[in-house]
Amino acid sequence: MRFAFAVGLLALLAGTANAQMQQPEPRDVAAVLQCLKRGDAKGGDQKNCLGVVSGPCLGNDTNNVPDMVHCHDREDLAWHEVLNRTVRGLRQDMNDEQRKKLQLMQDAWESSLKRTCRFYEDYGQGSVMGVLEAACAAEETARRVLFLLFFLQDANLVYDGK
């Protein structure tokens, strides 16, 4: 059990380090943006965009922890890039006071995200917890993007990378 936990932790640490150091793959960001644009046009199907990167990545009978974490990290990185673009787009539409509030809100969210997803590791042992933590980060980031897109006056600016 201890060994399994250690493996999970290592995978998690490796995944976290990768997520922090790596840039998202352009094709992954494009996949998320294309999905969001399609979902927006259809009216409300954007939730289905979660997994657009990790789904195919995990689909190849992946069953080892580092690979699974890597798939979720790729998804997380892509959504984080979209999140950054969305925040930038929002800031352009806002006055100084709103920008300040936006920043405070995002800081609080980041803090909550870290504690929430880390709770998998706090809760249980086993390598699966590392996978769940990585999946949690991607999921929460995707959810945040969908929330913030609601406020954008022209979401196409984000979808089209302008």
């Binding site: 509030k101 609080a108 969210w109 803090s111 909550s112 504690r115 929430t116 880390r118 709770f119 706090d122």
Partner: protein
């Protein structure tokens, strides 16, 4: 008016709006959730399993349905719809938290409390942002929906751990 006066004024307006959400539903504030609302959400949680945010589909089944004809309703009535749903999620969240507190060791409980504090701060800023952005009466029902949804998400998150802890006994 100085910048700090302006910030103070905006802050007061926001808190007035937040207070309004809870003041217009005084009966709900102290009440337990309606048994039929609890049953509907519990039934949904039991049914919706699997990937792709399946449980999340249970969020809104009370509030969204109740506020279906929002355009013909008063803001207070719409807020009450979401407050009704929030009571259910608050109840699930509290029960899950208490169950986990019994099941986890001291260090884990401390981490859970830290997580909950961070979540509350994030939820309040996130839902308050709706008022900062839209300002005006239309923001209040949206804030109530935001609070219900955020509470629902966290309740489901904690519930998954509580269910797991119960199975491990």
């Amino acid at each position: 008016m100085t910048e700090s006066d302006e910030i103070g004024r905006n802050s007061m307006i926001r808190w007035a709006a937040l207070s309004l959400i809870f003041l217009v539903t005084p009966a709900l504030a102290d009440d337990k959730p309606a048994p039929k609302d609890v049953a509907a959400i519990e039934q949904c949680i039991t049914t919706k399993t699997g990937a792709n945010w399946a449980w999340e589909q249970c969020i809104g089944i009370i509030g969204n349905k109740c506020a279906e004809h929002e355009e013909r309703m008063s803001p207070a009535d719409v807020i009450e719809c979401y407050a009704r749903e929030q009571l259910v999620w608050d109840d699930i969240l509290n029960k899950s938290f208490q169950a986990l507190r019994k099941a986890l060791d001291d260090e884990q409980v401390k981490k859970m409390q830290q997580m909950q504090r961070a979540w509350i701060a994030s939820r309040d800023k996130t839902c308050g942002f709706i008022y900062d952005y839209f300002q005006g009466t239309m923001a209040n029902p949206m804030m109530a929906a935001c609070h219900a949804r955020a509470t629902g998400l966290q309740a489901l998150f904690l519930r998954s751990f509580a269910d797991d802890a119960a199975q491990r006994k």
